[in-house]
Amino acid sequence: MFDITDRSLSLEPLVSAVTRSSSGAVASFLGVVREQTRGRQVLYLEYEAYREMAIPKMREIADEIRRKWKVDEIAMVHRIGHLEIGEASVAIAVSAPHRHQALAACAYAIDRLKETVPIWKKEVWTDGEEWVGPAACDGGVAGSEFRVSS
């Protein structure tokens, strides 16, 4: 299950989708809109996705995970649109026969999602707004060869 949705997120459908009879563990992650970000008061967030690229990029992350760990299934859903404080922006669930694989793969999934999946959030604060997107400046996507040389 890999999706971009404008509806509110819940873990249960992802957990159900990934649990197999071989699964002994399901690790999951929920990203939540928090009140404070880098010291500023958040009013709300607006998420935007390049959907046709974002979903294949999620599948690529799942392929990376399968090459690194023995997992059963992987699900990732990202929400877009207007999100209030306390609402979930991203949900990930990974099942595996053993817990260490599930936990490591889940941590990897959210790190990679933030690096490579083209989804942006506009943080709207009491005193301004700013777009935040894939972690290109960390060299996370693929290094500097993909930058515009200006």
Partner: protein, 84 residues
Amino acid sequence: MKVRVRCFAAAREIVGSGELVVDLPEGSTLTQLFDQVQGQFPRLQGLAGSLLFSVNREYAPSDKRLSADDEVALIPPVSGGADV
């Protein structure tokens, strides 16, 4: 040749639209495409230092040569980093 350019986030706001169609000479690179778009929307200069491109939904280096009907996207930079 005509190339479709999709614009997101800060790039979309500067361009004022989620999509442009750009007419370029055959064999142009992403850099040449960006120069032309930036000519039309000079405020894109502010993003240029860390803007990424995709071509047909894969990240692509700026010297990549384009073909007609390619779908290019301007992938704007992180301003603050992944904070959660």
